[in-house]
Every structure is written in structure tokens, then in C-alpha cells.
């Protein structure tokens, strides 16, 4: 009876370890990878419009640009899974190239380092896993070009 009880506890511990191992992130061994998505949006003051492809971003757009724009058109979306040092690029409606380079993860807080390049403009940012930020300001006709950058670690 005693041996059977010990066996049951050993089985329980082994099962818990196996389940925990399957639940742990697998990025530790192979280095971090991130999925970086570039969403190119043409924003105007009016008329009120939201492209169906932007519905999932509506809350973020409203909070960030609700006081400036009412019309949001999707001009393109590019997504890539990047290893450290790799880049994802998108061509803007005005012909400029916009690139985001994944530069790894900070050791202390696990923030994702992203470098942006657009012509002579360069910037370096750190964002939380799954976080979104925008680069804006370029004009295209009567619209302002907004580029949403979402970076999330790939498990």
C-alpha cells in the first residue's frame, strides 16, 4: 500500500513536470523571434469611414487619432516573423519604403527593441510584447499616412 502511494505521487509529479514543460515558452533555446506587423493607413478628417480590415484596430485608432481623423482606409498590411536583426518592409502609397528591424529583447524587462527606417529618418524604440505604436506625418494627396507597428514575441 505504501509503495503504491509513493508510485502515485511520483506519477503526479512527473505529469506536472511534463505539462509545465509543454507550457513554458520555447524561445529560450533558439533566441527570441518576433512577429512584426506593419499596417499602412490613409487617414483623413472626413467623411467618417473605417475600412473593414481595420476593425480590430478601431479602439487603438480612436484613442490615438480620434480627435484628428474620422476616415481610416487600409492601404496595406505586411507581417513577418523575424529573428534578431531581420527586417520587415512595406512600400508606402507615396513610394517611400518603410522598414522595421527587430533588434532583440531587453534583458531586464523583456521589451522588444525595434528600429524604424524611412528615408533619412531613423528611430529606435522599445515596446512591450504585443504592443502597438504609430509612425505618422507623411502626406499622400489629401490623406496623412499612418503606419501602425505591432510587435509580438513568437512562442
Amino acid at each position: 500500500m505504501h509503495r503504491r502511494r509513493i508510485g502515485a505521487w511520483v506519477f503526479a509529479a512527473a505529469a506536472a513536470l511534463v505539462l509545465a514543460a509543454s507550457a513554458m515558452p520555447r524561445s529560450a533555446a533558439a533566441g527570441p523571434r518576433a512577429e512584426v506587423t506593419l499596417t499602412v493607413i490613409l487617414a483623413r478628417r472626413e467623411p467618417p469611414k473605417l475600412h473593414p480590415g481595420l476593425q480590430k484596430m478601431w479602439d487603438t485608432l480612436r484613442r490615438s487619432f480620434g480627435d484628428k481623423f474620422a476616415s481610416f482606409d487600409l492601404a496595406g498590411e505586411t507581417s513577418r516573423r523575424l529573428a534578431e536583426g531581420e527586417r520587415v518592409e512595406s512600400v508606402l502609397p507615396n513610394g517611400d519604403r518603410f522598414a522595421a528591424v527587430f533588434q532583440g529583447v531587453t534583458e531586464e524587462k523583456g521589451l522588444l527593441r525595434i528600429h524604424l527606417e524611412m528615408g533619412e529618418f531613423r528611430t529606435k524604440v522599445r515596446v512591450h510584447d504585443g504592443g502597438v505604436f504609430f509612425q505618422a506625418g507623411r502626406r499622400h494627396g489629401d490623406a496623412t499616412v499612418l503606419i501602425g507597428v505591432r510587435a509580438a514575441l513568437v512562442p
Binding site: W9, L19, A20, H128, V132, G137
Partner: protein, 148 residues
């Protein structure tokens, strides 16, 4: 002496003539005994009745099965109550795994859109960082304003 003679007569070794009643009774007793011994020593020719044996076994089994009050789930429930480790061990393992998952998995929380702009570099124009660090759900906007 009479008994030996009676045995010889019963075995057919001595003639059976003019027997007095006592000797005749002895002879008969020996013959009966010989017949009983022969019958007991001779093997039976008929096969044993296995059909009856199995009928009896089935009847006993059916009787026991229908008489048992614990059937199906009741039997399982009794086994679980008698051996709690059967269910405690897997349930404990599942709880431990769920706790680990809850601690390690990101879950469905709203993303933290806080963005730290470390540096920017440009030859012309200007940059304005529009962000509200008190509201992590609001996305940062890096405005690049060209001259003119």
C-alpha cells in the same frame, strides 16, 4: 474352515452341492462382496456431465451478479472512495499545470502599448512624440513632420 470353503465355493473353485444353510449364507455373502468390489473397481464408461456442471456455475454467477447492489457507476464510485490517490494524483497534477500556465502564459489581457523612444535621427524636419504614459492602452504616435 467353513469360511475358506465358502470362499472357494463362491469363487467357483469347489463344487456347490449339499450346502447347509449357514454355509450357503456365507457363500452368498462372499458373492455379494465380490460383486460390490468388482463394481467399484470397474471404471465408468459414460462421460461426466459437464453440461450440468456449467449450468450450475452459470446459475451461481448470475445469482451473485444480480444480487450485488453495486453496479456500473456505483462500483466506480466505491473504488474512487476506497483509493483517493487514483483521482487525487491526476487532479493535483492538473491544478499544478494550470497554475504554471496561468503564471507563464500571457493570457487575454489588453496589450500594454507603452512605447519608449530611445533615439531618433533625421536630416531635416522635426519629430513630435505624442504619448500618454499614464494610459498604457493608448498607442504612442511618432510624428515626423517634414519642412514646408
Amino acid at each position: 474352515m467353513d469360511r475358506r470353503k465358502a470362499m472357494r465355493i463362491a469363487d467357483g473353485e469347489a463344487p456347490e452341492t449339499a450346502l447347509d444353510p449357514r454355509l450357503a449364507a456365507e457363500v452368498k455373502a462372499f458373492r455379494d462382496l465380490s460383486e460390490e468390489i468388482r463394481a467399484a473397481a470397474t471404471p465408468r464408461r459414460e462421460a461426466p456431465d459437464f453440461e450440468a456442471f456449467f449450468r450450475a456455475v452459470e446459475a451461481r454467477y448470475e445469482e451473485t451478479r444480480t444480487a450485488s447492489p453495486e453496479k456500473g457507476w456505483a462500483r466506480w464510485w466505491k473504488a474512487l472512495r476506497e483509493r483517493p490517490l487514483w483521482w487525487m494524483a491526476p487532479v493535483g497534477a492538473a491544478i499544478a499545470a494550470a497554475a504554471l500556465l496561468a503564471l507563464t502564459a500571457p493570457g487575454d489581457r489588453a496589450p500594454d502599448n507603452t512605447c519608449f523612444v530611445d533615439s531618433y535621427d533625421l536630416d531635416r524636419g522635426s519629430v513630435v512624440i505624442d504619448q500618454d504614459l499614464d494610459d498604457p492602452s493608448r498607442a504612442t504616435v511618432i510624428w515626423f513632420l517634414e519642412e514646408g
